[in-house]
Amino acid sequence: MTDATASGAAPQKPASGSLLELDARTKRRNAAEARFKFYGMAAVGIGLLFLVLLLVSIVRNGVPAYTQTFISLPVELQAEKLDKNGNRDPEEIKKVSTFGYNPLIDQALFRVLEENGVESPFEKGADLRKMVSASAAAEIRDYVIANPEKIGETVSFRVLASSRVDGYLKGRVTREDLARDKNLDAEHLDIIDQLKEAGAVARTFNWSFILGADASESRPEQAGIGVSMLGSLFMMLVVLLLSLPIGVAASIYLEEFAPKNVWTDLIEVNISNLAAVPSIVFGILGLAVFIQFMHLPQSAPLVGGLVLTLMTLPTIIISTRASLKSVPPSIRDAALGVGASKMQSVFHHVLPLAMPGILTGTIIGLAQALGETAPLLLIGMVGYIASNYPDGVASGFLDPNSAMPAQIYEWAKRADPAYYERAWGGIIILLLFLMTMNIIAVILRRRFERRW
């Protein structure tokens, strides 16, 4: 180091020795240099390590959600149970509740065991039926109501296995876990092992996770993210339709027309502060203004979209202003020079040239809004089971629904560990959407960005 020597003291003698030989101080300084560089590298490395850790844990925990265990069951649709009068009247068939279908499933299960030569310690069908999801009866009932002519025949169904069975085949549930579990016994697993050998139990790709609806707390095997994906879609439509025009209009005013005065200063300070307000505060705003004051429906994608619009507006305004600013003044001057009005020069020349930048900013803003959860918790998009597809466009905007991140939060909160797998699986879909949007933004920027 080059510390100044105290005044009055004799000047330090220069270190003697060869230039080719490093003295102790130089060595120390070089070591400090190397250490410092290493710290920097380590910091970058740790950052990247966290990223890898995060991605690995998402993929490792999430991928199992995309396969699901099914059991092939030849169910005999007995006429005397399903249609006592024999007239195949759909109204009468509907009178048989899902409970009425359980004996058929029991019978089919016994038959499968017999066909494959599996020994079973269970006497009662209800015990054996624990291997099958509670949704199986409803599935068969829906089939029968849709095809009443099939009554009396034996139809082969692929029904969902219960979540414990599914977890066993995925390695999530072990025999030790089942000792304290009253939903399934180790004997069931022996049966499953043998049925798997025989091919009656198989794990296949699970489309209904991607396209399906959420299910009640006790049926994780049935839950899907499709309906909340639609909820997110409607929300993003609202955000796009409101925030793009409003954001562009506001930026045009601030960048091109605004006089320098207190009012515009106030607006500018405001926008930069709004961009840093915690998202949950926007949720409180939405709750108080849209639900408490305006009485808009709770849990509706419309309200979610409005809240997220207010949240993304600052982002969009900031990026739009940047891209308007990057259009050189010579363009404006040329337009004004040939007689265009100020408004015409902006709308006919500046805006089209700034459009790629504006769209990029908008897509990034939308991606942010798509992943935002906290404000949605406050306007009631959680705690609601998104089990029905909206009937149409109006109901898509106004009927209660969930959104992807809210659905993931909901699953993470549920007690059954089978739901954790679904939450991770949902995150994969969410991240795929975000990645696609960001890639589109990057491509737009690369393809259309102009350097002046």
Partner: protein, 487 residues
């Protein structure tokens, strides 16, 4: 007539106005557009704007004002004996509104005739059952005065809707007429159209102010309401947080603030060194290939939604820490959810935030300062430590403050990773909770805003808003002041 129809009619009228206005202007110039003051399209736009803007503005205002006016007038019909305070009144009023809307729905679906709906009486009909049949669920049986109020509501609503239709369509027609009169070759159509567009642009820009006003108003009114029910001193200086919806809750903010600060400090302790060193390395040492790879990769961390970090804390980091520090390890931890879990994960989230802001600021330090230092024989690290960082210090402090405000306002990670118990404890492996987590737990799934237990969320939100706003303003001020120094 429903509002959608009015809206569509106004739009159709406006489109017609465009075509006719354009044609009339051309006709007035004898078919030669060179004699017009403005391009023909401006005459059309002028007419279209005259039709649509005032009419739609009136429609929107009416849609907001009508329910309020009706509410005000119907409130007097509800007997004072049926409610004890403002909160109960609002519950009664929402019942009234639901019955009125249910009756409308029943008539619309044909489950009831119009005459039946007007003459309906509590003594003769079970209203709850009848409305239940059309899908309107009522919490309790309907009392006579409530039904009277509901009927009054319905009647006023119908009258209001009729007047609304008339007024809006009249305004639209007046605009149409004015547009037609003005579609003349000497009229300065472009100037008037541009004035309207400018007004719309100003309106859009003012929305930012409106949002802030909305935030402050909604927080402030409910906070004042809360302090009427619960003493402000107890809120700000209370040491216990124990809400109970039965009453007698203790709502002291200090344990929550402590949890918030503790988690934020841990997060910053993770994010600041890593982020800062990464920024220094990437801007001073790294080759351009490393930089172009590592910088976007680290910034990916910033694009990942917070719910993902929340899940990561709950299901990966929490169990990992629990294994190391739980009963099987060091024995400090009682469960996966802890201050440490949330702080660590939040730190990861903040790394790119700190690093990219510091990166910008370090890059803004003029190269001449580095060259001078290197020329005097300082090593690169000495240059960074003694020249670059001191010069960039104000900006870096600003960046750290912005990161701190992020950490304080972060919700999902603490909701999932930090636990729910409010505690004043020093042990970072214990579960604690934060202001944001409590806002969520006090407000979700609760439509009754009358109890102090729900209203406290607004007071918490106000506190959060004020703290983050101060941090942001201060940080932005520092950053801006610093930037000017070298520009």
């Amino acid at each position: 007539m429903p509002a959608t129809w009015i809206f569509l009619i106004v739009l159709a009228l406006s489109a017609t106005g465009y075509l006719l206005g354009r044609r009339r202007a051309l006709v007035s110039a004898g078919g030669d557009s060179r004699h017009l003051h403005s391009l023909p399209a401006y005459y059309g736009s002028n007419a279209a704007l005259l039709v649509s803007v005032p009419a739609l503005l009136a429609l929107v205002l009416w849609l907001f004002a009508q329910p309020m006016v009706i509410q005000n007038r119907v409130e007097h019909l509800v007997p004072e004996t049926s409610y004890a305070n403002e909160g109960e009144l609002s519950l009664v009023m929402s019942d009234v509104r639901r019955i009125a809307e249910g009756l409308d729905l029943a008539v619309e679906q044909g489950a009831m005739t119009e005459a039946e709906a007007t003459d309906i009486r509590v003594e003769t009909t079970n209203i709850r059952d009848r409305l239940g049949a059309v899908g309107v669920a009522l919490g309790s049986d309907v009392e006579a005065p409530i039904l009277v109020a509901a009927k009054a509501w319905r009647e006023m609503n119908a009258t209001g809707n009729m007047i609304r239709t008339g007024v809006v369509l009249l305004i639209a027609l007046a605009g149409f007429g004015l547009g037609m009169v003005r579609a003349d070759k000497d009229f300065r159509a472009r100037n008037s159209v541009e004035k309207v567009i400018l007004a719309l642009l100003i309106l859009a820009a003012s929305l930012a102010i409106l949002t802030t006003v909305g935030i402050i108003a909604s927080l402030l009114f409910n906070t004042i309401e809360f302090f009427k029910l619960y003493p402000a001193l107890d809120f700000f200086f209370g040491l216990t947080w124990a809400p109970s919806f039965g009453g007698g809750s203790e709502l002291g903010i200090l344990p929550l603030l402590w949890g918030t600060l503790y988690i934020s400090v841990i997060a910053l302790a993770v994010a600041v060194p890593i982020g800062l060193f990464a920024a220094v390395y990437l801007s001073e040492y790294a080759s351009s290939t490393v930089r172009s790879f590592a910088k976007p990769m680290i910034e990916v961390l910033a694009g990942i939604p917070t719910i993902v970090y929340g899940l990561f804390a709950l299901l990966t980091v929490g169990p990992m820490l629990f294994q190391a520090f739980g009963p099987d390890g060091a024995g400090w931890m009682g469960g996966g959810r802890a201050v440490m879990t949330a702080g660590l994960v939040m730190g990861i989230m903040l790394i790119p935030f700190v690093s990219s802001l510091s990166d910008d600021i370090i890059n803004a330090v003029p190269q001449a300062m580095r060259d001078g230092s290197l020329g005097l024989g300082a090593t690169k690290s000495e240059t960074v430590k003694q020249v670059v960082l001191p010069a960039a210090l104000p900006g870096i402090v600003g960046a750290i403050l912005l990161a701190a405000s992020r950490a304080i306002g972060e919700t999902m990670i603490v909701v999932l990773g930090a636990g729910a118990a409010a505690r004043l404890s020093m042990n970072p492996f214990e579960a604690m909770t934060t202001v944001t987590a409590k806002i969520v737990s006090q407000l979700t799934g609760d439509a009754d805003f009358a109890s102090p237990e729900a209203l406290v969320a607004f007071a918490l939100g106000m506190t959060l808003f004020v703290i983050t706003l101060c941090l942001n303003v201060f940080a932005l001020w520092i950053v801006r002041k610093y930037r000017e120094q070298y520009e």
